[in-house]
Symmetry: none
Subunit: 248 residues, 2 copies
DNA sequence: CATATTTTCGCAGGAAATTGCAATATTATG
DNA sequence: CATAATATTGCAATTTCCTGCGAAAATATG
């Protein structure tokens, strides 16, 4: 067995279990614990995990913002993303907002899908770089380390010039009267431009975001064409539907 | 059996098995392990696979997957990066070109360094997102999947508006007469703007890039203020020094 | 067709990397 | 503080890698 295969195994196990133990790995890989320890040492030096006594834990590139949230409503988000897939067709230009729901969506892109994706999100851009058919355009600007998106005037300027078929909106609070809101002024401004630059706006929201509001307004709720949510969210769908919004 | 047939077999096996071993290939192809090793050497140089101890693994489409990053520990690049560090001071605005040499440099940033870094490189942006003090500005534009940088008009426009203290140039060929050249037209145009937007230009080049040229011109060699290179590169320094360029 | 040149390939021996083991230090925990 | 678990270090056995060399095959050249 090649050393690289062990690395692969360790990293995969780390991703699913969120921790690895010397003893377990020694068993799984049929090598001594010393070798496991040395493997972890190498991986740690490359920033791929963090060694701790007895084993190792994952190293989120961005401490506790993005990668933490990603596992919280994993199933819900995947369900939402699966519904969203049916809106995508070859040749479209898509604006993909940042956030874990939209990230879950691009992870589900079938390899044959041909799209142009415009996004301010670095994780989404990275994910799509592995995709053979998708053209990726990253909006420029200052990086917000907590949410791993670019923001600011440059971002807005690039989006303004754009005309997209669909905009998928990520993390936002939805409220029938307050509209779509976010926690950051700059990001809210960016989202606002996204909405304006797309023919159709689809919000991906877990139920815990529905009926809530945050300080900065993105747009009116009627700017949304479709809201895709989870089981619990559907129970709250009635008032949105009355406004003519498609909730699925 | 022709060499090309062996290549074919190796690549096919690599695709199905996700790894190949010297011993296995030697058996399958009925040639010595030395020959297998030389074959893998050729394939690796053409970027078709990655040699590892005992065999080879596929060239992962995922850009900075573990196996790629791990081999970045080339001493030359780290030595170059270490020299470059001394040019950095708190408060500066830096343009950081893409490439493995510049990537090696940002990996060495001490945690206390306070900079604003403007870059078209996604790996560099990702690396710096983990840095507590560095402000990161990513230039927007279409992503070139092979080199992991943004390029195009939007990139140029963002860089044009900028005034940076230093620009660190990455992968480029240097030639005393032809100047600085690169393999891609768009990227060369972007690099050209980088050079113009910085007060001082520092090239990070391994010796194998010195005295060579590629199709697209970035700028004259005299636009470089300093060239940082490895041991072997210093031996080729004389003609550059005669032009008033600091070579270290 | 004969000869020269280049390419390919296997082999040998020394260099380097990998791995497991044992001895020793360090840390956690009651 | 004592004891057990875990880490580190040095070392040796093994495997793998690299280099130079020569033989054979392929190719070029007159």
């Amino acid at each position: 067995m090649l050393k690289e295969e062990r690395f692969d195994y360790i990293l995969k196990k780390l991703q699913t279990d969120h921790k690895v133990l010397h003893t377990e790995l020694s068993n799984d890989l049929q090598v001594s614990e010393d070798t496991v320890r040395r493997d972890l040492e190498v991986l740690a030096q490359n920033g791929l995990l963090i060694k701790v006594r007895g084993g190792a834990i994952p190293h989120s590139p961005n401490p506790f913002a993005f990668n933490e949230r990603i596992n919280i409503h994993e199933d819900d988000k995947r369900a939402i993303a699966t519904k969203a897939l049916s809106f995508l067709h070859n040749g479209q230009t898509i604006i993909m907002d940042g956030g874990t729901s939209t990230y879950a969506l691009v992870k589900l892109f079938p390899p044959s899908l041909q799209l142009t994706v415009v996004t301010p999100s670095i994780p989404i851009a990275m994910q799509l770089m592995e995709h053979p058919e998708v053209e990726v355009i990253l909006t420029g600007g200052r990086i917000f380390k907590s949410s791993q998106v670019t923001s600011g005037l440059d971002t807005i300027r690039m989006l303004e010039k754009l005309r997209a078929d669909i905009c998928f909106m990520g993390v936002c609070s939805l409220h029938t009267e307050v509209g779509v809101t976010g926690p950051d002024m700059d990001e809210a401004a960016v989202k606002n431009v996204m909405v304006q630059s797309a023919n159709k706006v689809i919000a991906l929201v877990t139920s815990d975001k529905m009926g809530t509001a945050e300080p900065y307004k993105v747009c009116n709720i009627t700017a949304m064409d479709t809201i895709i949510t989870d089981e619990a969210g559907l129970a709250l769908a009635a008032p949105y539907r009355q406004l003519g919004i498609n909730v699925i």
